[in-house]
Symmetry: C2
Subunit: 146 residues, 2 copies
């Protein structure tokens, strides 16, 4: 279809990228999927200012992607955990990581390997069709208004 | 593995998000996959200033994600097309679109439907294991240094 037929589309993508379309946010989310939960750990890993970390975490909590939970009472300390909505971003983060591994890993290869626990193999993510399970590339897809 | 063992990892993800971790860049790339190629069309669709469109397109060309090609001689006019490196971002964009459809589409449903040409069905993207082809969720994955 022609792109100009799409001009009236609602903004579900625009809303998504308003939430995750930010460099530090994507780095924070990557770290969340690696098990990082505490403010100081995000801060140390990213090497950015407390105010940027705080602002990005706050936005992710407001968007329902992370939830803030007390893990200690005196003094109260919180950690940040992925909600179901946040966990649903796993394919996004894996796809970004895989693209980075393909084009930016350098000679040493991917910095991290991902093992699929069920089959025991190191894997790369493959995007497939929900209906026929075949791998999907851009040229395999036809788009039309919903 | 513990996240702190990852602190020495090279920055392939950091480099990726430096290229695509931007709201307007993700919107531009989404439009590229819908077949948009011309400056004026990006500008009109996104409704943002020429200077933002120009800067984002320039960065994508410099990063090797888009290539700028003349499609007309007098006057010379250029269009922007995805390179192989750009086409390799298809899973990223599809994953973002699908997440948006799940959480931001509203009652009207997804604004765009994606049909898999080979099987003829409307589909959603499913991330699977390259080795055993099973669907992969966050909890199925173990990460370790490469």
């Amino acid at each position: 279809m022609k792109w100009n037929a799409l001009s009236q589309e609602p903004c579900s993508v625009a809303r998504s990228v308003a939430v995750i379309g930010d460099r530090w946010t994507l780095m924070l989310l990557r770290d969340c999927f690696l098990g990082v939960r505490r403010f100081e750990d995000f801060e140390r890993r990213l090497g950015i200012s407390r105010s940027i970390v705080a602002e990005r975490l706050k936005r992710l909590v407001e968007a329902g992607v992370l939830r803030r939970e007390a893990y200690q009472d005196r003094p109260v300390r919180h950690e940040y955990r992925l909600t179901d909505k946040g966990l649903a971003l796993h394919p996004v983060i894996m796809a970004v990581v895989h693209w980075g591994d393909q084009y930016y890993a350098g000679e040493a290869g991917p910095p991290l390997l991902h093992r699929h626990k069920a089959c025991g193999c190191d894997f790369t993510p493959v995007m497939t069709c929900s209906e026929c399970a075949a791998p999907i590339a851009a040229r395999d897809v036809e788009v039309r208004p919903g």
